[in-house]
């Protein structure tokens, strides 16, 4: 057993000693699975809707109109957020696996990717929702 694991006194909680508390490492893994599954199911639908270009321009344009609806637009922002997290955390996993200092810096790297995620999502969500906002609140 490593010394770092025993240096901290175990937290006192009402739970027994068997509940795994993996902190950031565990929750980033949980989020990676959830965002991955979400993206997989979207990809399935997305290949099918794009395949309509092989049917007729009208049927493709009809299904693409769904994406332009403000509510669906909001879900797209959620999807972009999920994919972006999965991409950034995936790079973190690669760093943990292949970079000699990766495992020791895994927690710092998680907060780094969270910061990058916020920095990208704020302008990203703004530009993605701009048109829907104008449709909903007047000027278009």
């Amino acid at each position: 057993m490593s010394t770092t694991a025993t240096s901290r006194a175990p937290a006192k909680t009402k739970f027994g000693g068997t509940l795994y508390r993996g902190r950031e490492g565990m929750w980033s893994w949980v989020a990676h699975r959830i965002t991955g599954v979400l993206t997989f199911f979207f990809l399935f639908a997305h290949v099918l809707d794009t395949a309509l270009v092989r049917v007729s321009p009208e049927s493709y344009d009809t299904v693409i109109a769904t994406y332009k609806n403000p509510f669906v637009n909001l879900m797209e922002i959620g999807l972009v957020g999920a994919v972006l997290y999965h991409a950034l955390n995936g790079l973190r996993i690669v760093a943990v696996d292949f970079w000699s200092r990766g495992p020791r810096l895994q927690r710092q790297m998680l907060w780094l990717i969270v910061a990058v995620w916020v920095l990208v999502m704020v302008p990203g969500a703004f530009f993605m929702f701009k048109h829907s906002f104008e449709v909903l609140f007047g000027s278009k």
């Binding site: 990809l43 270009v53 530009f127």
Partner: protein
Amino acid sequence: MTSSPELAPTIIAPRTPQRRTRGRTNTELYAWLFMRVSGILLVVLVLGHLLIMNILDGGVQRINFGFVAGRWASPFWQVWDLLMLWLAQIHGTNGLRTIINDYTRKDQTRFWLKMALYTASALVIALGTLVIFTFDPNIN
């Protein structure tokens, strides 16, 4: 794993060398490596795709049949989309395979879920590839 209730399940000591019980191949190693290599490529392919389709120059509002025809007139975007389709679908299928292996309890359930997964994946890859290669801008 069968779910026979055991009062004292034996827990193997950590870092016990793994003994190979069946098979002499390194499939799981290659799958692990593929997730990392394809993941890095997908960061570029998918985030580039999301940026172009959802954020730049009006985002999703400008997408229609003509927009797709304009993009697929260029072999560059055909190759981009084809690579993205194959890599994302295989990456996602392997991810879901891992999740099925983790959470199913019965061998039968595991087997049939994987069969459904592989069937769906093969269909999506085949359909997407067919659409990219046989796309006709003058379909009407």
